[in-house]
Point group: C2
């Protein structure tokens, strides 16, 4: 039977229509000023024209903003489940989104055993890359192309605000923007690796969330962690997939 | 005899010409891209036209950038000494500048017994107020006039970057900018009080550094600390005064 999962994040709203373990439809848009609007749009597009109304499960920050969901669940459980559908033997999920980052540990059967979350400091989230890229006039989509084969320049500031000033000073001092950009990605990857290492993470590792699409970041993260880091084209949908899976279980009862 | 102390901070460069315990001259300017230029200018203006060359002591981040100083000392010792000249019985110095904050504990004789320093996170420094004020179109000088008698709106984000987004959302939702501004000052005062409370601070307390000129902040800090917080018109010069005092001691030998 068909289920819909919608993950209303603070930066992006993600949704899927799931049948068994197949994604029939995907929805992705930046979360607008009123997050409920994006949830409504996602629900509309994902459930449009179906013979019967799919079971709807909501997760993410905005999950309580609409009243037409069949179920609401917290992100952490969804992310673990969704990650296992994308990569069946996942033991550690690293999720870095626009405004938070999480590390989730799973046992062999996929049950949650431990997790860490940061949503207090922008420096460990996609916001850091956004702010600094914008300072350098680059968009998030360009990052991989810009830093390919470039030696990273050292960035000493940990804080997004101070790093922004440091980047401006380096530009004024004539350092190439590509080298600064590579340095910024590297600094964030190092910081993320430190954060992740606070949990004794076990492989296989799946990296999800919007930042996982930046290959340069993934490469540097893997090198700082000293471990393989897997990604998946649907990695940004892990939370929504997990929500849809929880809907399947509920229906199955 | 005359001594000069110059405090080359990351945001402002401060300097004094001291005779005994009297400030004969003061110098204050924003630290330029090349901090050494401001140190040179301060030295020129403070020592100009004197019968004999005063002893020059440098402190602050930029203290090693020029080679004409007689002595270089770290900030912490200077701030304690300078605070005691401004208020003789000071036991706790709270210093909040543009890019760092410190708490310094002194015993009855003014000797340093303990200190805490933050220069990693912009949220605990003057930079927080700068960034958010600018977002609201206000300058640091206007803050006191704008928030007088205004009930602070709650600000939940601790991080400068996230608070900036929160402020923009509150504006879009129609909250008065004065109430947001008061809320921002209050949020930072609460955070600073938490930081300060990590040292068992003893009164009397002197609040120095650029942020001490914001009376609304000082009032809210005092209320969150549950203690009197004193300020001084020359509070921004505490580090420079301390450096000049160290010069006097050296000369006295
Ligand atoms: S370190 Fe910077 S980015 Fe992190 S909480 Fe502080 S102000 Fe925000």
């Amino acid at each position: 039977s068909l289920t819909v999962g919608i993950d209303s994040g603070s930066t992006a709203t993600k949704g899927v229509l799931l049948e068994g373990s197949t994604l029939l439809r995907r929805f992705l848009c930046p979360t607008p000023f009123r997050p409920a609007l994006a949830i409504e749009q996602a629900w509309h597009e994902l459930s449009d024209d179906l013979a019967e109304r799919p079971f709807l499960t909501l997760t993410g920050y905005g999950r309580q903003l609409v009243d037409f969901a069949d179920k609401q669940v917290t992100e952490i459980s969804c992310h673990g489940l969704g990650a296992r559908l994308l990569m069946a033997d996942t033991r550690t999920v690293i999720d870095i989104g626009g405004q938070d980052s999480k590390v989730i540990q799973l046992d062999e059967d996929g049950n949650l055993t431990d997790f860490l979350m940061n949503d207090k400091c922008a420096a460990g989230t996609g916001r850091f890359l956004d702010v600094i890229s914008r300072t350098l006039g680059a968009s998030a989509e360009q990052l991989d192309a810009l830093v390919a084969g470039v030696e990273p320049h050292a960035i000493t500031s940990m804080c997004t605000v101070f790093a922004e000033s440091e980047v401006i000073s380096l530009r004024s001092a004539g350092v190439a923007p590509e080298a600064i950009l590579a340095g910024v990605i590297n600094a964030m990857a190092r910081r993320s690796a430190n954060f992740i290492s606070r949990l004794t993470s076990q492989g296989p590792v799946l990296f999800t969330g919007g930042v996982s699409h930046c290959q340069a970041f993934t490469r540097m993260l893997s090198s700082h962690l000293g471990a393989d880091v897997n990604t998946h084209p649907d990695a940004q949908f892990a939370g929504a997939i997990g929500a849809a899976l929880i809907g399947q279980r509920q229906r199955g009862r």
